[in-house]
Amino acid sequence: MPPPDPGSAPPPALALHDVSKRYGRRWAVARLTYALPPGRSLLLTGHNGSGKTTLLRLIATALSPTAGRVEVLGRDAVADREAVRRDVALLSHASFLYEDLTAHQNLMVLGRLLGVDAAEDVTDGLLNRVGLSRRTDTPVRGFSAGMRKRLAIARLLMKSPALALLDEPFGELDPAGIQDMEGVIAELKAGGTTVVLATHLIEQGLTLCEERLHLQDGRAVVA
């Protein structure tokens, strides 16, 4: 991909060019073409197994497409993998958390990997933000599902990504947690982050996102 020249309009935060991903004989994502207009956020809907998670993992470069091209901010997700990874953060079903480390240590590992300045202060601030400031020194093994979700979102915020991919962020959260999560997402958007949100809670999603893409058997369906 040639880099976008600086004079022209900004590249879409996310562009899919005929993207397919195969697992064995099954096409989890099949010939998906889509471009997200700049400054907008995307709501992904669809039943279980419709390809939402696979699509998010493709965008996050956790998977490579079998065919087609994923572009994030104008950069190819395979050829320019390293740079795309710096811009993208994924909140996935798997929490990416080390069970044997504390909340604080988990965030510090990521902070150091990213080369975050003053990682200690940032970590404390983030733990405070997600309401875990009283449990910072408890190993994750003792956390409830909701607390893991909060810590995972703190992990995502540590990266302050240009594109945030949220896979079922409201799952396993109590009503207060859902409200907090909505606040976090609104904050991310206010800070200039593009959000791609996959959720069953279509109502919440529609208030947060301007665009919508409905998936069925890995294909886009006009909603």
Binding site: Y23, G24, R25, W27, A30, A67
Partner: protein
């Protein structure tokens, strides 16, 4: 091509192997020291050569796969490993039987036999790994990595075992090469080569068919896109 594999190759195999073994068993003179037992050479040595060749094919296919993914090289690597394992095991068994009258024991920790035994265990591991990974793509990549590492290991094993043995005594296997032994060995080796190719071709077809059953091959992108279908049907109408 298909006809050759089906009829020509088996006939060639039987002919060459039969001729070579007849030469080896009846025509060639017995060895000066080992007598008739030496006739094992005409089956043992070609087996070893073909095992090496098959393992080499496996290595090349694995490297090729990592450079450019294709189900064909993956299938070839799998077939070569299995056929190589068969030839290698037989080579080792015949070697051990040969060792009995020559050295008085079946197993002498001769560097060649020992290295081969290690190699065979490594390739058994390779085939077991292939069984235990369900995702065909991951299986192909991982087994290619294992094949490459295993092939690199072979010379290291060879040197280390030879060193390790040389501290005790050097095992020299007497090989007085009579010109009349060369011909049967050559013919038998070509026969064995034909047989290996025959096995390889058939095993490769099986492997490729298995891959076909497991994956929609990459060339076959899904085409039943509703939008596309609609466009086509409108064109027809």
């Amino acid at each position: 091509m298909d006809k050759f594999v089906k009829w020509g190759l088996p006939a060639l195999t039987l002919g060459l192997l039969g001729w070579g073994w007849w030469l080896g068993l009846a025509w060639a003179p017995p060895d000066r020291e080992m007598g008739d037992v030496q006739r094992i050479m005409y089956v043992h040595v070609p087996l070893q050569w073909m095992a090496m060749l098959a393992m080499f094919i496996n290595f090349v296919a694995a490297v090729t796969y990592l450079m450019r993914q294709s189900w064909k090289t993956d299938a070839l690597a799998e077939s070569a490993a299995e056929v190589g394992l068969l030839f290698g095991t037989l080579g080792m068994i015949t070697g051990a039987i040969w060792g009995r009258p020559t050295w008085g024991v079946y197993w002498s920790w001769d560097p060649r036999l020992t290295s081969e035994a290690i190699l065979l265990v490594a390739y058994t591991g390779y085939l077991v790994l292939r069984r235990f990974v369900e995702d065909p793509e991951k299986r192909a990549v991982w087994s290619a990595v294992v094949a490459i590492i295993g092939a690199i290991n072979l010379p290291i094993v060879w040197f280390s075992v030879r060193w390790w043995r040389s501290l005790h005594q050097t095992q020299s296997s007497p090989k007085t090469v009579d010109p009349q032994m060369v011909l049967p060995l050559r013919v038998a080796a070509f026969g064995m080569l034909a047989l290996m190719v025959l096995f390889l071709v058939h095993r490769y077809r099986i492997a490729l068919a298995e891959r076909r059953a497991e994956v929609a091959l990459p060339e076959a992108l899904p085409t039943d896109d509703p939008a596309l279908r609609a466009a086509q049907s409108s064109k027809v109408a």
